[in-house]
């Protein structure tokens, strides 16, 4: 992996893309969400819907990207060094717990299935926000932009703004706030409707104003010494990461945003998982293979596991005489929730020296 445009070393430019993992184009377009800008500009100007554009290619894209990405967290969980020792509950108990909980929800789909479905759809924008926060702070750390505790907190809240917007925007479809309240309960009360629309607008504005404010704040204070090398400005790639998440949820209609965010998030996730996986494998003393081999085996595992989870699992419930609707929808929901939980454990950068060493490595 090559070092990126700006480095943490002395004499480097104050502003820069950030210290990349693979290269400026790869990091910015695939990990940093750089693909978002041209794509959304085209979608908004042409009025093309996700379903209309992706059409018949969607199942293949879903298999190769979406489903592979959900599987990637499980593959990562079991291939990351020492996870059985460090995360015994997540590695050993969570799969059985997921299987049992899923089966219960499928059996009682008419009574309680909606809660698992709504949980998955309400949690997804939070998961994307958390990923944007994790990646943005990772690029800051890697690029010599040391964030104070207050700045980290501000960055976290910044990343949550699109999630709050999505919580409101999903109301008519029954997700987010709609899980608790029907949209008509708000629409029928003028004051509630006014507050709702102002809140939605507020979160939309904050989704872009807050990252810009943070970027400017850090830029003004860059160059200061905090007991070590002078602090760098916030890397552009961190700003792009946070802004792209905002663009998905603010500029696109809710269900469109859901489809595109899932697809672009999957690309982002597969790219960063590959970076960490390859880095760990290459530094293993017994390694005898090149980068391409590790990337290919990781990706093949992810696609294979994704296929087993999404295509084979639901059929078992149908085979047992249950309906296809609950089998498919609730398996999808359970896999997502499992992915969210696993991710919350395997990407704890501040507590994981292995992850920190990959971030610091050039």
């Amino acid at each position: 992996m090559s070092a990126g445009v700006a480095t943490a070393g002395p004499g480097a430019p104050r502003f820069g893309l950030g210290r990349t993992f693979v290269g400026p184009a790869f990091d910015l377009l695939l990990i940093g969400g750089g693909l978002t800008l041209p794509l959304v500009a085209w979608l908004v100007s042409s009025g093309v819907s996700a379903v209309g554009f992706l059409g018949a290619s969607f199942p293949i894209l879903a298999l190769l990207l979406n489903q592979a990405h959900f599987a990637a967290s499980t593959v990562r969980l079991y291939t990351k060094p020492q996870t059985f020792r460090d995360l015994p509950f997540v590695t050993m108990v969570l799969p059985l717990l997921t299987l049992a909980t899923l089966s219960l929800f499928v059996l009682l789909a008419d009574q309680i299935g909606r809660h698992l479905w709504a949980l998955y759809l309400s949690w997804s924008p939070f998961h994307y926000a958390a990923q944007a926060f994790g990646l943005a702070s990772m690029y800051c750390a890697r690029s010599g932009c040391r964030l104070s505790e207050g700045e980290r907190r501000f960055l976290r809240w910044t990343c949550l703004m699109p999630f709050f917007k999505a919580l409101l925007a999903g109301t008519p479809a029954g997700y987010g706030l709609g899980w608790l309240l029907p949209g008509s309960a708000i629409a029928s009360r003028p004051l509630a409707l006014l507050a709702f629309s102002w809140a939605e607008r507020g979160f939309s504005v904050l989704s872009f104003a807050m990252p810009l404010a943070l970027f400017a704040w850090i830029a003004l204070r860059s160059g200061q010494r905090g007991g070590g090398a002078p602090r760098k400005a916030m890397p552009w790639i961190s700003l792009a990461l946070v802004a792209s998440n905002g663009i998905w949820w603010v500029l696109l209609p809710y269900l469109e945003a859901f489809l595109w965010a899932t697809l672009l998030h999957a690309i982002q996730y597969l790219a960063i998982v590959s970076v960490f996986h390859v880095s760990e494998r290459m530094s293993a003393p017994a390694n005898r293979h090149g980068r391409l081999y590790h990337v290919a085996t990781l990706y093949a595992l992810c696609v294979g596991l994704g296929y087993a989870l999404f295509q084979c699992w639901p059929r078992v419930y149908v085979m047992a005489g249950l309906g296809m609707v609950e089998s498919v929808l609730l398996v999808v929901a359970a896999i997502n929730v499992h992915h969210f939980i696993v991710d919350a454990f395997i990407w704890r950068i501040r507590r994981d020296s292995g992850l920190r060493s990959v971030i610091a490595a050039s």
């Binding site: 199942p59 009574q111 479809a173 029954g174 949209g183 084979c312 078992v316 296809m324 609707v325 498919v328």
Partner: protein, 160 residues
């Protein structure tokens, strides 16, 4: 719990989970091979079973599928609209009226649903209710068939 016991419990849970996953995967493949003589395709449609059931005339099974869709997507009208259509085929007009009536509380609802409700209530002999739905359909730009207009006493120039 002593640590050895906990460790044993964790290992057992892992074994069961892994075995369950493997068995589910193999069973899913075997099921598709047995039924369709192919590997599970990369697309799995939640409504595939309902559509297949309709094609072979098993409307009760299709109704079950749509009922579950309506229960899971509990703020969306689609499942209820499909359920209502199947119940009409099954001559369960009261059930269809309930399903479509409930669908109206899950906006956005397609305008033609008001026309279908007007036709359904006409069949049930509830002319006043049918007229109410017919007027909403007209307001929302859905033309009424002449026979229905005549039955409900809504002339071509009827105020919506």
């Amino acid at each position: 719990m002593p640590s050895e016991l906990r460790s044993l419990a964790y290992r057992c849970a892992f074994g069961l989970g892994a075995a369950g996953f493997l068995a589910a995967t193999l069973a899913g493949i075997a099921f598709e091979l047995g039924r369709e003589a192919r590997l599970p395709p990369p697309r799995i449609e939640p409504l595939a079973l309902a559509e297949r059931a309709i094609a072979r005339g098993d409307l009760l099974r299709a109704a079950d599928e749509y009922r579950t869709q309506a229960a899971i997507e509990f703020r969306q009208a689609d499942g209820l609209i499909r359920l209502g259509a199947v119940l009409v085929e099954l001559e369960d007009l009261r059930g269809a009226a309930r399903a479509w009536g409930e669908a109206l509380s899950r906006p956005p609802t397609p305008p033609h649903l008001y026309l279908r409700l007007a036709q359904l209530h006409t069949r049930l002999g509830e002319i006043e209710g049918a007229r109410r739905y017919a007027r909403v359909a007209l307001r929302r730009g859905v033309p009424l068939p002449p026979a229905l207009r005549q039955r409900l006493g809504l002339g071509p120039g009827a105020a919506p």
